[in-house]
Symmetry: C2
Subunit: 166 residues, 2 copies
């Protein structure tokens, strides 16, 4: 299964396309979509949609894994995160990509096996699982990788459980 993890932001959106086949994880593409600070918010969001749309068309993932956001954190940036997340969800739907969302706790548990793991430990484990020589940078890309891995691990577990029950 090919999965894209996406960490949305108006300024920087991290993405990571990862292929999961029989327990192996293969990074296909990763990077960021950046928008120009001097542009109006709507223009930045339209740019995000165009470029992310290009990434989806190029790599044709079946699933997009995103963070389930609650806005407990920073009220000031909440609006911008919500706007960017809306663009990501709409563009995925437009291209027939199924969206799965995970809480930060679920991501850490799936990647490190421990929900209280610090961010640096998650990034190091992501690099190890994907065979990268160093943690993915910027952190938006590492977060996107972790989301994709989370989906693949949980999907693999679900398939194994179905097999055991059958």
């Amino acid at each position: 299964v090919r999965v894209i993890g996406i960490d949305p932001g108006v300024a920087v959106t991290g993405f990571a396309v990862i292929e999961g086949t029989s327990g192996r994880l293969r990074p296909v593409a990763m990077g960021v979509v950046r928008t120009a600070r001097e542009d109006a918010p709507g223009r930045r969001l339209a740019t995000l949609q165009e470029r992310l749309g290009g990434v989806l068309r190029t790599h044709s993932p079946r699933v997009a894994a995103v963070e389930r956001v609650f806005f407990s954190a920073n009220v000031k940036t909440a609006m911008a995160v919500g706007q960017a997340s809306g663009i990501v969800l709409a563009e995925a739907a437009r291209q027939g990509v199924v969206v799965s969302d995970y809480t930060p706790l679920e991501v850490k548990q799936a990647v490190v096996g421990f929900g209280g793991a610090p961010k640096l430990q998650v990034q190091a484990m992501v690099a190890r699982l994907l065979g990268l020589s160093a943690p993915a940078r910027p952190s938006d890309v590492a977060d996107a990788c972790a989301l994709a891995i989370c989906h693949l691990n949980r999907a693999g577990l679900a398939a194994a459980l179905r097999g055991a029950t059958a």
Copy 2:
């Protein structure tokens, strides 16, 4: 000048296209874009984008007036409002429509002349200014009307002030 006021929401987005010429306000079109509750969030946002895009193409407003949102209100609905607002801003930008945003206080002051005006008073004044026989329904449409009127009044005032200075 032709202005569209937009009150974004994932479930219901109100819009009102209003033409302002030499102090007169003429309602051109108003209504709502509704999305299906049973659809996934991304599908609902994609539907909002398609239908609002159709409204913009049909009526070609020069400016979109939207509310400046701060998320002081309801944290639970904040994410959905942010997502819908992101779609509105991006689609306006894609179609070359300039976005102006106004606080609820600015809207009330522009429409009623008093920032503390209750919602029903704003709706009654909107109906009077547009020559409607009854307040616009649902309230999302009335809010969209108020936003468009706010932009037209302030733009008219700005033009008058420029004239006085010239």
